[in-house]
């Protein structure tokens, strides 16, 4: 299918990209891996007058260590994120979730920044960023600002990234030595999550000392399951304790109903999958 006509620029610095967006006005769109944007254009659900391609910004593909944070450029492809050694060592949950995103082809094109900026509530990386207290570095005409994950996701497909702004980097605290697991439930093997649960645990001497749990597709944004986290802390990671904690999984959710799953089924899944994710994270 053929998109409507648009102008196209491929800037080579973040500043140029920001000013291109500014000049493009309301109708300008940023292009990262194109895995979500191109279908939208081809189905003519959007018809931007200008597309600003970030593909030329090599600096935004870097993944590195920055003190006690792992800093991932917004344009790092899913494939590169999940294969990265720093990610595997310090933010294993992100790698695990990224491996479940779509298929090989999409993972080579799609980017971490693009997925988070797109903010599909069914996306797999939002709940990870939220649960792990990631920080979002956003560049605008006035320079950069940093937004915590708790403020980044605003609504369906809506984030704290303003008009004429670009997400440049996502920073994760290190969770070295934590157990983690991403439990995804979908209709077909390579589809979006019907519900998914991201869980990371710190276990000291058989007792859960810290817990992070995030849910995909249980509301208009990713959800942090704080009730579950609180119920887990101080518990031994036994099946019974975990199952009891998982009962809190639906607190603060507002599960959608669609052709794949009605809200009550999603809620049931959230509880079951939370139990499974946490038990798997506990090892």
């Amino acid at each position: 299918m053929i998109p409507a006509k648009f102008d196209y620029v491929r800037p080579s610095t973040v500043e140029e990209a920001v000013s291109a967006l500014q000049q493009g006005g309301e109708d300008a769109k940023v292009l990262a891996g194109g895995q979500s944007l191109l279908p939208v254009l081809r189905l003519r659900l959007a018809a931007p007058s200008l597309v600003v391609d970030l593909g030329g910004l090599a600096e935004l593909r870097q993944i590195g260590e920055d003190g006690d944070m792992i800093a991932i450029g917004a344009m790092a492809a899913h494939h590169d994120v999940m294969r990265n050694e720093l990610v595997q060592r310090h933010v294993a949950l992100l790698g695990q979730a990224t491996e479940t995103v779509a298929d090989r082809q999409v993972r080579h094109r799609g980017t971490l920044g693009g997925a988070l900026a797109h903010a599909d509530p069914a996306g797999d990386l939002g709940p990870v960023a939220l649960a792990l207290d990631a920080e979002f570095v956003i560049a605008g005409s006035g320079g950069s600002r940093t937004v915590p994950a708790s403020e980044f996701f605003v609504d369906y497909f809506t984030t704290a990234i303003g008009e004429n702004e670009i997400l440049t980097q996502v920073r994760f605290p290190k969770y070295t030595g934590w157990g983690s697991h991403y439990e995804k439930f979908n209709r077909t093997a390579q589809a979006w999550s019907m519900v998914a649960v991201a869980a990371a645990l710190k276990i000291d001497g058989g007792t859960i000392s810290e817990a992070r749990v995030g849910l995909a597709n249980m509301s208009s944004t990713p959800v942090r399951a704080t009730g579950v986290e609180q119920a887990l802390v101080g518990q031994a990671a036994t099946a019974d304790a975990v199952r009891a904690a998982a009962e809190h999984a639906t607190e603060g959710t507002d599960a959608p109903s669609d052709a794949d799953a009605a809200a009550d089924y999603r809620e049931h899944l959230a509880r079951v999958l939370t139990g499974r994710a946490v038990l798997a994270a506990a090892g």
Binding site: M1, I2, A4, K5, P39, L43, R44, D103, F185, R187, T188, A189, Q190, A191, W192, M194, A259, D260, A261, A262, Y265, H268, L269, V272, L273
Partner: protein, 800 residues
């Protein structure tokens, strides 16, 4: 006569990699959309977003003014020329089909129906212009539910007075296939008899979308002496004739080419509105035109498959002996008839009794119009539906009687020693060996071991339960004996044509009327001819899919190519040898009766004198030294009309795991032993079985075309129409038994649809077998996690 020994089988049975694969897989080939002609214009369709409405106005001015737009037509502009899309098999001589327009004139009857045609200099402009066409609709109530449609509150085709078109009945007694009581009588008797049991169930065959890989595309060039159409179609020959008849074009002025075609699954067994409209526009413009659909357009407007309500009744003695089967179908035709729409469910009438010796049998199908995309052939066409009905009801019967499902089937199936056997649908099965296939399948599957595991999991209340699904099927392939088609009111015969041209250098051109669109005919036909003529495989070229190159054909569908088209090729090769023998006798100065042909060589019996087939061909080309009174050509043709259908069969076993906490269903193990008769190329057979299984399993677990209350298709993209991929399927264990068909010289039966037909009931039977002990009686297809979970919840809630 030639004294040919059976040809040496160097090629038959050999697992050759398909010669067409390199070009098909890389896409570096002649797909219709790759064709570009000088001055070519591009067409885009404006389609109705509503299911049922009167068109009160169409404004095309803005679209016409867009730079690059050449013309915009509405239904009123084209109605005088568009005639109607033909239905080749209206099954009922008394009833006429409703007029199926290519472009709506005053009323739209399904969402996706064409309401305007835009013609532009490039495809992008044509697409842009479609958004500028303004159409005013006055909504009519959409008729979406088959059973409500029968109430006729709103009638879709007012001239018919009803949404019910016809009822097609079959009764085994009336048809002379059985003597004794009718199915109704036998069922009534069983109901009154304490030693008998009657099991009655209702199921839905959901609506499916064929989802072939290459979207449809048409190019029409009207500038030559003939009008040439390239189309991504399964049926270039049928299309040529039908196009000629419906548009009043002289057939000899039409050439239709199906270049490489990327799949069809029945979805391209059609004469489409787009083919008609492209022709009309090309003629008006006197320029070549192209139309290529988008994926969403394809899913919305290409014909759909299945969509039936099945009411199935079986009667049996308490000892398990079946006494009657009755299948009542309500079939959704959609808004109009395509080429075979009303005939599709009716194929099931004859194969309904399946592998069983039902002494009484009845089938009735009620055809209903709705405001949905027309339905038509989809892989299996009628036979998956019938097989589902019978294999599900046999499962239910086994459950009711507390019997092992395989054992109950064996008790009632046709024994190997009883062939040929005429079933209660009037078909005569020439051969079969259900015992052998079942024995092999149960061994490969470890049936007994899995039954034990199932018991253990039930006892330990494992959250993941195990079920075993059985489907022992047969089907009818090799469409079809022409006289039989005639008796059923079809508008065509069931023969197939082949021609062989012997080129001077000894190379061979094989022309076939079958029209491959991914099946591998080029390889298989080459193997057949290489053996038959004793020439190298590489020396054979197979030509097809162009009415100028292969003028006669009935094309590819219904697993007919090898049993019918392949047989035509064999007979044709035999004719070549017959002719060549006379020439060889002359060259060898021997009597014709003394010539032997073997492995490409003609020799004089009992001597070492001989000539190769290539030498005979060259001598014929020269004709310098040629026998008198004999035509100097070895080229041959043959049109083969089968005496009978062929009847593949097989035993499919599925070990299904159901996670009772989430409802998720997964296939632990899938074993099938198919008997498709003799095998030309095991690799191709394997490929067809795998693909067929994937599509049959997809119906059981994944796919369904969903409409909302307004009649809009809500999952018409690959994001929401959940096709499974390899990642959703297990590694299949496939094996074969080989009971040759007796109805053709190759002994082949057809394999294109077997997997699709057999696997759907195997999977559903397996899902139910895993959770029946929890009180679950039924899960509608597709058995999604949510549906299975709810079925368990409902059953458990009811038990509390």
């Amino acid at each position: 006569m030639t004294t040919t020994a059976e040809p040496t089988a160097r090629e038959l049975g050999r697992a050759r990699i398909r010669k067409e694969d390199a070009r098909l897989i890389t896409g570096r080939t002649r797909w219709t959309d790759n064709i570009t002609l000088n001055g070519m214009l591009h067409i885009a369709m404006v389609r109705s977003p509503v299911a049922h409405a009167r068109i009160t106005g169409i404004n095309v001015d803005a679209a016409k003014q867009l730079t690059g737009v050449v013309a915009v037509y509405s239904g009123t502009d084209l109605d005088a020329e568009q005639s109607a899309i033909p239905c080749a098999w209206p099954i009922n001589a008394e009833a006429t089909p409703p007029r199926h327009v290519s472009i709506a004139v005053d009323t739209v009857r399904f969402a996706g129906e064409i309401v305007a045609v835009v013609v532009a200099r490039d495809a992008a402009t044509a697409k842009d212009a479609t958004e500028l066409v303004e159409v005013d609709y006055d909504d009519l109530p959409p008729v979406l539910d088959m059973e409500e449609a029968l109430g006729d509150a709103t009638v879709i085709h007012p001239d018919f007075g009803s949404n019910k078109w016809v009822t097609f009945p079959f009764d085994s007694v009336a048809a002379g296939a059985t003597t004794g009581p009718t199915a109704d009588e036998a069922i009534a008797a069983a109901e009154a008899d304490p030693d008998s049991i009657v099991v009655k169930r209702r199921w839905r065959q959901q609506r499916l979308i064929p989802a072939f890989m290459e979207p449809r595309s048409v190019v029409v060039d009207p500038t030559g002496e003939q009008l040439t159409m390239w189309s991504s179609t399964q049926v270039p020959h049928v299309l040529r004739t039908m196009l000629g008849v419906s548009l009043g074009l002289p057939e000899h002025k039409l050439r239709v080419i199906a270049p490489d075609v990327g799949g069809g699954f029945g979805g391209k067994l059609q004469v489409t509105p787009e083919e008609i409209l492209s022709t009309l526009v090309a003629r008006r413009m006197a320029k070549p035109v192209k139309w290529t659909e988008t994926r969403s357009e394809s899913m919305l407007s290409g014909h759909h498959g299945r969509d039936q309500i099945q009411d199935v009744t079986v009667a049996a003695k308490r000892d398990g002996t079946v006494t009657a089967l009755k299948i009542e179908l309500t079939a959704d035709m959609g808004a109009y008839f395509g080429l075979f729409t009303p005939a599709v469910p009716v194929f099931g009438a004859f194969i309904g009794p399946a592998i069983y010796k039902f002494p009484s049998y009845a089938f009735v199908c009620t055809d209903v119009f709705t405001n949905k995309t027309p339905t038509d052939a989809y892989r299996g066409a009628g036979r998956p539906e019938a097989t589902f009905a019978v294999e599900r009801i046999m499962e239910e019967l086994a459950t009711e009687l507390g019997r092992d499902p395989l054992e109950l089937r064996e008790q009632n199936w046709i024994k190997n020693t009883e062939f040929p056997f005429t079933n209660a649908g009037g078909l005569t099965y020439d051969s079969g060996n259900y015992e052998a296939a079942t024995e092999k399948a149960t061994a490969l599957f470890d049936y007994a071991g899995l039954r034990r595991e199932q018991e253990e999991r039930r006892r330990s209340n494992d959250p993941v339960q195990l079920g075993i699904g059985v489907s022992v099927f047969t089907e009818m392939c090799g469409l079809a004996p022409s006289r039989l088609l005639g008796a059923l009111g079809a508008g065509a015969g069931g023969w197939e044509h082949a021609a062989i041209r012997m080129l001077p250098t000894g190379k061979v051109e094989v022309v076939t009327g079958s029209s491959a669109h991914g099946q591998g005919h080029e390889t298989a036909w080459s193997q057949i001819v290489a053996d038959r003529l004793g020439v190298p495989f590489e020396d054979v070229e197979v030509l097809h899919g162009d009415t100028q190159v292969s003028p006669k054909g009935m094309d590819t569908y219904g697993s007919r190519s090898l049993p019918v088209g392949g047989t035509a090729v064999v007979k044709c090769a035999d004719r070549v040898i017959e002719k060549a023998t006379k020439v060889a006798a002359h060259l060898l100065e021997a009597a014709e009766g003394d010539i032997e042909f073997q492995a490409g060589r003609f020799s004089v019996k009992g001597t070492d004198k001989g000539v190769s087939i290539q030498e005979v061909v060259f001598a014929t080309f020269l004709s310098h030294n040629f026998p008198e009174g004999i035509e100097p050509s070895l080229d041959s043709e043959y049109t083969f009309d089968p005496e009978n259908f062929s009847f593949p069969h097989g035993t499919h076993l599925a070990a299904m795991e159901v996670d009772t906490e989430t409802g998720r269903v997964s296939i632990r193990k899938y074993v099938c032993v198919d008997d498709v008769g003799s095998v030309v190329n095991p690799l191709i057979v394997e490929g067809q079985v795998h693909g067929g299984l994937a599509q049959g399993i997809a119906q059981a677990l994944f796919e369904e075309a969903n409409y909302d209350e307004q009649g809009t298709l809500v999952n018409g993209t690959f994001v929401d129409y959940t096709l499974p991929s390899a990642a959703d399927l297990p590694s299949f264990t496939t094996d074969r038994t080989e009971t040759p068909a007796t109805s053709n010289p190759l002994g082949v039966k057809g394999v294109g649809e077997a997997g699709t037909i057999a696997s759907t009931p195997a999977i559903v039977n397996g899902v139910l077998d895993a959770i029946r002990h929890l009180g679950v009686k039924q899960v509608e297809m597709p058995c999604t996690a949510q549906r299975v979970w709810r079925a368990i919840q409902d059953a458990q809630g009811g038990a509390k």
